[in-house]
Amino acid sequence: MEIVLRGMFVYWVASFFTELVIVYYAYKIVNQKINWMKLLLTALFIDTIVAPTNYLIVIFFPSRFILSVSIDYFVMFFNYFVLRMTLEKDWIKSFIASSFAYFIFYQTYVATFALLPAQYSWSNAINQTISVVIMLVLAYIIGKLIDKLHVSSFVERCIKKRQYSIIACIVGFFLAGYTHFIWVIAPYLKDIHITYSLFAIIILLVLVGLFEYNTKNIVYKERQNMWQSVIEQQQSYIQNLEEIQKNLKIYRHDFKNIMSGIYLSAKEGNIEKVKNFMQEMFEDFETSIDGKINLANQLTNIYITEVKSLLMLKINEMQQHNIPLHLEVFYPVKDINMDKKDLIRCIGILLDNAIEEAKENNGDVVVVITSDQNGVLFLIENSISKEISISNIRKKGYSTKGEDRGLGLFSYQQITDKYENITRMTSCQHSRFIQELRIGGSGK
């Protein structure tokens, strides 16, 4: 009895580290920032449930194929269950993460066999220590590799298509228990540990190759998309410049006429007429060219490509619908202390709402972006036709436009709630609806 308990304890301690590695891999696969406290506790919890169960079953019913397969799958599913609760809410994503994490862990673990003394026995404390240390080192290296190969973006892609996600789940499921499938040919092999290790290393290498190939593809495609958007951006910029050019041409023509008018009036000594001519000139300039030049000037102050592209896109949309826009970017905006994807989503939601409302009431939109040493402020304002209930706006699904709407602002809040350096403000006064988003931290 005492031996069993001691063995169980050693096993429990050792498998704590294996759990640690599994959870660590899972974090890496879904590319979440590692919270060590949470990681340790998760591993401890899983280990405390799983390890004694495993140990007892193996002690009392050794070498039963079906049983050992089901133990493995029990461990994997338990991992999946806990990770689903603590790490990743999307169930497909967390299944892929936990099954692959389990598989990669198994490879790491088995690979350590190649480096261990021959008399390996898993209830021996010294052996376990060596094994654990080797495994942790390997896990660290493989973790880095997972980052480097952008496995998370691969998973992201998988779950976007239903077919892929199902395939990934099935592959993950089989890989997680693959060691048992080699066992079938085990009797024909001389040294099962060496075979395991070799297999493990080979499969790991194959996976690395696969990911490497895939990432290259993905990186290539992303780069292509980026160039595409840069080109589109340039095009709309050129279009803008051409329009200014065209207006300048017209203005030049008018300018000559007005100048000769001024000249004649001056010659006559008619100051009043000269004044009127000049007044006309000023107004003409203001309406035909100044506004456009101003807009282009404001945009040059934005140095974050993603934000600039988004604004250009929305400016085009507003021009198409003849929505007047007043844009102010008074100081250069270079750095924003927020994930770019989140930022784009937030600004996109606010702009879309403003545009939609302005479209409906033939109103206008104002966008003010200021950057200073305290951070960056986005102010997005539009005219409204009817009062909006500010208190309801934070609720999911609230919309002035009926059912199935209002998710935009809800996800805007969810995203901004993730950031401690963000403060928001909503106000609705004098028929203007204003949303402010302030992102603290590094500014200029």
């Binding site: 203001e286 970017v329 003010v368 200021t370 706006i393 709630d417 403060t423 909503t426 609705c428």
Partner: protein, 245 residues
């Protein structure tokens, strides 16, 4: 007597503005006086620092050609020294980011200097609305709540505030007011200390304005305010009932 400060490095424009302001003061019998009219922001700040009376009127050029200050940063500095300053800007047409100025410096108005006829027009309009504002401020004795959002100070009429709520983010407070919802950084306890009278901490996470409460549900330990539901803690319940009755 309220003092006026003018800063523009274009001599012609500055003299014109000075002249027009003096004319307007005589015509409308404003109790104002131009204290400083200069081309250097440093000089203006020096003069301002030795002033005892604050709440002055300022006219600043947006495009100051100075190594350290442009109109924006000068306005910010003035706002810090003189929190109740009334700051207006002088600008060429088109190039002014007025909303930015309004937001960060609480700029009052702007004057277009491109033509003298327009300048006179917008200057006299600006002066008369400053006068109106000063008269209103004198009458206006309502209490305000101020909070800092980033580097901007927001003023809200106490009377417009419904309740404060702690956010899911640590040290963030959400202020629910009439037509407004502001998220700022602070502690509910210190807000509670600042506000006392009409406000009661009904729960660890809620500080509500007593006169705005619409309904109290004693069974569920909740209250309704501006259509929103706040929890009531057991400890606060007795105090709340006493205060409401």
């Amino acid at each position: 007597m309220i003092k006026i400060f003018v800063c523009d490095d274009d001599d012609m424009i500055r003299l014109e503005i000075e002249k027009q302001i003096n004319n307007q003061i005589i015509i409308h019998e404003y109790d104002w006086k131009i204290e400083v009219s200069c081309d250097s922001p440093i000089f203006l700040l020096e003069k301002l620092r030795v002033q005892e009376n604050k709440g002055n009127i300022y006219f600043l050029d947006v495009d100051l050609k100075h190594s350290k200050y442009d109109g924006f940063s000068l306005g910010k500095e003035i706002r810090e020294i003189d929190p109740n300053a009334i700051i207006s800007y002088i600008t060429n047409f088109g190039d002014l980011a007025f909303r930015t100025f309004q937001y960060h410096i609480e700029a009052f108005d702007y004057i277009v200097k491109s033509e003298s006829s327009k300048l006179l027009d917008s200057l006299s309009r600006c002066l008369s609305s400053i006068n109106q504002k000063l008269l209103n401020d004198k009458k206006d004795t309502v209490a305000y709540f101020t909070c800092k959002v980033g580097n901007v100070v927001k003023h809200l009429r106490l009377d417009d505030i419904y309740f404060f709520e702690t956010s899911s983010k640590p040290h963030h407070i959400i202020l629910h007011a009439k037509n407004q919802c502001i998220d700022f950084i602070g502690e509910l306890t210190s807000v509670e200390k600042e506000l006392k009278d009409n406000f009661l901490r009904v729960h660890r996470s809620y500080l509500v304005a007593l006169d705005k409460i619409e309904e109290i549900d004693l069974k569920k330990n909740q209250l309704m305010i501006n259509g929103q539901i706040c929890d009531i803690s057991r400890k606060a319940k007795a105090i709340l009932l006493k205060k409401v009755q």
